[in-house]
Symmetry: C2
Subunit: 315 residues, 2 copies
Amino acid sequence: MKIKNRVTDLFKIQYPIIQGGMVWASGWKLASAVSEEGGLGLIGAGSMKPQLLREHIRKCKNATNKPFGVNLPLVREDIEELINVIIDEGIKIVFTSAGHPAKHIEKFKSAGIIVAHVVSSVKQANKAGQAGCDAIVGEGVEAGGHNGKDEITTVALIPQLVDAVNIPVIAAGGIADGRGVLAALVLGAEGVQMGTRFAATKESSAHEVYKQKIAEAGDNDTVLILRKALLARVIKNPFAIEAIKAEEEGKSREEILELLNTKREKLGIFEGDDVNGMLEAGQSAGLIKEILTVKDVFAKIISEYDKAVENICKK
Amino acid sequence: MKIKNRVTDLFKIQYPIIQGGMVWASGWKLASAVSEEGGLGLIGAGSMKPQLLREHIRKCKNATNKPFGVNLPLVREDIEELINVIIDEGIKIVFTSAGHPAKHIEKFKSAGIIVAHVVSSVKQANKAGQAGCDAIVGEGVEAGGHNGKDEITTVALIPQLVDAVNIPVIAAGGIADGRGVLAALVLGAEGVQMGTRFAATKESSAHEVYKQKIAEAGDNDTVLILRKALLARVIKNPFAIEAIKAEEEGKSREEILELLNTKREKLGIFEGDDVNGMLEAGQSAGLIKEILTVKDVFAKIISEYDKAVENICKK
């Protein structure tokens, strides 16, 4: 895998493979391992209070000299505090999601921070470009966790984003192996972001039960839930089935939000309750058969990618 | 585009590009035009009575000497009659969908017919392989019209199908240009099936209003409706919004089926009623900007494909 493009240049990385920031799964250990292998690791601030984020950033700096970043969901109430920690600690790469980047971009830019924003439609991509973002992550509806309302799939979304914006597009959703990486580049993306594949690594801070659930999942073992509240793709466990039933019965947004009330994400991903917890995962779970080290994930992806390139180019 | 693989060999075609069989859009005119360009045209029997299917087959034979086939939804009540017409008229390629191929495969096989079956999950793919099908079409949830319940996207589905079965896999869903064709091959498919792109051609028998709606559609202008009845992806018009509302209110299967009662497909696709009709289209509609001739569609796809190959292989 020899790729030099705007994404490898922007983040100063060897491979345009980005580890998605995930709640309860992507702390300093995962992020630094990914960066050490030549990808871009992201600390997922979504499940961290400002002080904990600071600790993870410091540990990550100790663990690697290579570039890493922070993923920041912009809907957080303590967003200003989190941004202050990021700037204070000298972070130079931020991936923002779930919100409007325009509100915060000046603060990031004046601190010399590269900003990539996660989008799920052409409209959001144009907004991110106009706001001054350096790159976008185009996330298809097959991705795990919280998802854009548009429900556009990776194969349909990526070429439309590439045609719409001038900044580099990173593809996310449904990608877990080297074939997926090459397919994303063929569609015009200049990098990929993978969540589920890295959630199921040894270095992920998620619970073993949750990692095992990803490794065991087949092609149709994830489902989109909470359309009326906060759309998310999760593994079809008893909690998910309960949520689907509530939606089918026409329950209100308030009733659905109540279902979520007991910190379902932490319960499922961090504490390993596979009955009552919310097990966020993408459809790529069906491609993931074992829990590997980050080193082995990279070796596998690179070898699959090289083989896929050879298949196309020998013709 | 120089591709020789099991799909081009099986159907004796120049390009592994198959035009999906579609109700009210794919008669002899479209099918013969696609076959003439070196792809595989399919007459969509879904909206044809047996006698009409016979007429279309005869006209298609007059229009081209190249291989073409028939798409047959197996849920039809007059399925035996339709199969008899197909055999009687000497058709040698059948694409089956919406049902179990095992029930009819012997009849097809003893008439020397090649059978490809449309699937939307690994489970269905394995069944089709065991039944003796010669190929499968793996259709992602981004595809237009009736859809598998599994809601698996093309980028997640195709590699899983390729890993599961030994017969060739044809990718469908979200593909409308040469980048999509190459991405599908990278994922392991040996051909693609495109519906929406060919529905919006001059040779399609659909109404101009419907074709125009496809050309105008943006990335998020289609939606999945009728989850409780007969899942379908359609353009988000007033009828579709009415159907979504009925589902959100928790209406029963019977009430939802009643909504469909007035031949919505014909009304929308063939008669061009863009308010009350059901306008079946895939997410690839966002990539389709104009109504072209089939000849121009092929020229465009081939040139895009060659450029995409060059981009990958020059590296």
